[in-house]
Symmetry: C2
Subunit: 214 residues, 2 copies
């Protein structure tokens, strides 16, 4: 028996005073700029940065290999209250206090997808949205070797709502990656995460550009 | 005469109460999830979203074409107080209240780089950091036709500090794009913005992957 499900609905949006915020906060930065002028900047910051890694989060750029199907990638779709929309992202998560980025990637990927993965590369730390926050992340490229009997398609309109963690997993052939993100963007109440979109746009650009060999 | 310049320095970081914040604020979202359970989420939000576009910001993925040089892209390096570091990004900016994304892209690109550009494509809105904020942006791909006499290299260690807006512009051949971002990431007090890194990583992946035609 699956639980009764419904579309998520926001019931109230209210100011969140600093002393009631558990996960994020606001800071005022006073600094002296390049020409010696005192300035201020407003920043939103997480209260949870992992001490060992010094980085907030990892995202797992993943390649699914299957004996008889084209190489694909697994994306996750979940309701995100900040946007009141379903976001399309690569699996991602916060790094725990005692973890490295690589350890967090393997753990989170298993939790969100059920698959064991092999780490191919770990990017340098990247700034998530540098004008507004100090949030940072690392892109961990991983590879998953599927078996012949593994399902081709985790997609289905009902799966988004029935999943216990409310995360829908979708397998997309890499050759359709960019086009599928464009299609998702056209759907009501859906938005693609910028990092995922930029990776796919970079692949698409490399494939379709006519400037000559890059 | 150029103004006396120095490395930016943070003098104080303090809590920023909501009633003193001009640009950003915190909200508590109460919502009912897919299985009918009431939940809350904490979100950082900009107070400045452009009404016409319904989107906060644009970034300009740009291609510089020159009669006798390889296709290149222009990146900007600037001190970002939230990270107390120099970030490497594509030119970007907030969309004004009465602008479309395309208009903002042309205006901001001219302001930050001095170049007129031709818009090639405008992406759907993308979520900047969907777990933490509702900030969104559109990637506008633009092309710039340089003249034979245009400078090959805007780079120089002194330029970062002398620039009036404290923005250093660097021209990078597209063939070196990813490797240069990796190199920047190794430098002290420098961090690459996630969107830029992901686009370059997507290009790099498309060029170097060995899974077969995608």
């Amino acid at each position: 028996m699956s639980p009764k499900t419904q579309e998520p609905v926001i019931t109230k949006i209210s100011d969140l005073p600093l002393d009631e915020a558990k996960w994020i906060t606001l800071k005022r930065i006073d600094y002296v700029d390049q020409v010696g002028k005192p300035r201020t900047w407003e920043v939103a910051t997480r209260k949870t940065r992992a001490e060992k890694a010094g980085v907030d989060a990892v995202a797992m750029g993943n390649i699914l290999l299957h004996p008889s199907r084209a190489p694909a990638t697994l994306i996750v779709i979940q309701y995100r209250p900040p946007l009141d929309a379903y976001t399309v992202e690569w699996p991602a998560g916060l790094i725990d206090a005692d973890e490295t980025a690589e350890e967090a990637a393997v753990r989170e990927f298993k939790e969100e997808t059920g698959y064991e993965c092999k780490v191919l590369s770990v990017s340098p730390p990247q700034a998530a949205d540098p004008g507004m926050t100090n949030a940072n992340m690392q892109l961990v490229m991983v590879e998953v070797q599927l078996k012949e009997e593994d399902a081709e398609d985790m997609e289905g309109p009902e799966q988004r709502l029935e999943d216990g963690e409310h995360i829908q997993r979708v397998i997309v052939p890499l050759s359709e990656f960019y086009d599928r993100l464009i299609e998702y963007s056209k759907q009501d109440r859906m938005i693609v995460a910028a990092k995922l979109f930029h990776f796919a746009a970079g692949m698409h650009f490399a494939k379709t550009q006519t400037y000559g060999p890059l």
